[in-house]
């Protein structure tokens, strides 16, 4: 039980996907200009990534490893995730138009978030079992959403600052990301009793 908590804690804070593992930076930089979009992106990613981790575990352990098809891992994972994204879109469009309106535009963007492939691959590398994979996926995407939303909050405020000309836009955003990453280093060690 406590190992699950540490996995979750580790994924959300200590080894935050974006700030420590450095995955998923394109959406981190791209969809963080407004709080609202950041929230939408976070929610959509959380959904897809958690589902993706579960499915990729199943595929890896029931399909690829028994048939010695490990060399198809990258391909099958990315295709699976693309499929999940598409199906999710279909399903929520049918079941909940409201949700579709909120998340719809972010879903297609998710496939180019390298965390959705990176985290399932890390699951394999870290030899997580099914439950751990799910938790790791969920924790990572919550970590992603957390970083994204906090970053968006900061950026909304920064919009009003008199940032030196050459640093406006992406440079200052990156430096802010760096300071966030620095702050998250403070969590180092909290997961070591694993």
């Amino acid at each position: 039980m406590s190992s699950y908590i540490f996995i979750l804690l580790g994924a959300v804070l200590v080894n935050n996907v974006v700030l420590v593992r450095i995955l998923g930076l394109c959406p981190f930089m791209g969809v963080s200009k407004k709080l609202e979009t950041a929230l939408g992106m976070g929610a959509a990613t959380t959904f897809v990534l958690t589902l993706g981790c579960g499915t990729s575990f199943v595929i890896d352990h029931w399909l690829l490893i028994p048939n010695q098809l490990e060399y198809l891992r990258t391909l099958s994972f990315i295709v699976t995730i693309a499929a999940i994204v598409q199906l999710t879109e279909l399903v929520i469009q049918k079941t909940s138009p409201v949700l579709h309106q909120v998340l719809g535009i972010y879903l297609p963007l998710i496939t180019t978030n390298c965390a959705v492939l990176g985290i399932p691959l890390l699951n394999i590398a870290l030899r997580h079992n099914f439950m751990e994979s799910l938790l790791f996926g969920f924790g990572s995407s919550v970590g992603f959403s957390l970083a994204l939303v906090l970053f968006a909050g900061l950026r909304e405020r920064l919009e009003g600052a008199e940032i030196p000309l050459y640093f406006r836009g992406n440079p200052i955003a990156l430096i802010t990301g760096g300071l966030m990453s620095l702050a998250f280093m403070g969590f180092a060690g909290l997961d070591k009793f694993k």
């Binding site: 909050g153 030196p164 802010t176 702050a183 280093m185 403070g186 969590f187 909290l190 009793f193």
Partner: protein, 343 residues
């Protein structure tokens, strides 16, 4: 007719400079206690930090084509410099404080537009950068009562080459406690450690407890002066005491008590001088409570389980990140809208 400025036509005589100067003034009791227990080296560090802060500020203002004197004389860079000096080990090599201050002023403050616009606490960001880069140099602290060894301290600060440490340094109370409790095959208890090691004082770190008490004094004066409100220090200290007290109550052998936590490390400095940085912190009354309590809780967690002996700096940065969202969600009700439902 002169209509270059509009109403109100007269103002209260207040200025950023007087605010900052009073913050510096409030630090003096703490500095005095610091010198008393740990020698005059800290004064050298403060001088170094001040020089670096003013020079860095002047240079970057010049580059940015901003009025140099107006901003250099506002005193905010001095506050940043002093706080860096006070949070670094007083026997750290001279270049560390200088580099840290320059990072704080040039990168963390001015790349965001300078005074009032930086979302991160410059002093604490610089501290975090330096402790990540130089953990060893950042954890060499002098032992209390060595204030006679000014020459030795100067040798450590300015002398290059191998540092002869064992004579003057000593792990801090927080570090010692942490080390002892984390060791795999030790059966150390809090009481056992604190009562046997010279680094512990009556209720905090030896010597440090009195420095902290002096900071408390200066901080209370700041509250009285109206420069800071009670929200942040009270929430900070209460949350730290509550977390420590709860854990100590459950497992007194594994967790130090509230008094120890309040009076060691950077807690007091943090509560009154660091968490209260108006620029990078939360600003609404409720927001301030959440913000300060957040710093205290994170700092306690990092102290207790994390990799760093003290967590005030990291906790401050972490809550800096949260501050805009805290503010956004704790806006006080506007006149006439007190009974409105939250959207």
């Amino acid at each position: 007719m002169n209509i270059a400025f509009n109403s109100p036509y007269f103002r209260k005589p207040a200025s950023v400079r007087s605010v900052m100067l009073r913050v510096l003034l409030a630090l003096l009791p703490g500095i005095a206690a610091y010198v008393w227990f740990f020698g005059a080296a800290i004064l050298v560090q403060i001088a170094l930090a001040s020089a670096a802060a003013l020079a860095g500020e002047a240079a970057i203002l010049r580059l940015r084509d901003k009025p140099v004197w107006l901003f250099v004389s506002d005193g905010s860079a001095l506050v940043t410099g002093w706080l860096i000096a006070l949070s670094f080990p007083p026997i750290a090599p001279w270049w560390m404080v200088v580099v840290a201050t320059l990072i704080a002023v040039v990168i963390v403050k001015h790349l965001y537009g300078g005074l009032g616009q930086n979302p991160f606490n410059p002093a604490m960001a610089a501290f975090c950068i330096m402790i990540v880069a130089y953990p060893q140099l950042m954890s060499q602290w002098p032992a209390a009562g060595h204030h006679g060894d000014f020459a030795a301290q100067m040798q450590l600060i300015f002398g290059g080459g191998e540092r002869q440490l064992d004579a003057v340094t000593m792990a801090t109370a927080l570090d010692t406690l942490r080390t002892a409790l984390h060791s795999a095959d030790s059966h150390a208890t809090v009481h056992g450690v604190t009562s046997s090691q010279p680094t512990f004082g009556m209720f905090g770190g030896n010597g440090w407890e009195w420095v902290a008490a002096a900071y408390l004094l200066g901080g209370v004066w700041l509250v009285q002066q109206g420069i800071i409100t009670w929200h942040i220090p009270v929430a900070f200290l209460a949350a730290l005491a509550a977390a420590a007290g709860l854990a100590h109550g459950i497992a007194p052998d594994r967790f130090a008590g509230p008094l120890f936590h309040l009076f060691s490390g950077g807690a007091m400095l943090g509560a009154f001088f660091i968490a209260t940085d108006p620029v990078s912190g939360a600003t609404t009354p409720r927001g301030k409570l959440i913000y300060a309590a957040g710093i205290a809780l994170l700092a306690w967690i990092i102290r207790t389980w994390g990799a760093y002996p003290d967590g005030i700096a990291f906790a401050t940065l972490l809550m800096n990140i949260c501050a805009p969202l805290i503010d956004l969600n704790t806006q006080p009700p506007v006149f006439g809208h007190k009974n409105d439902k939250k959207p």
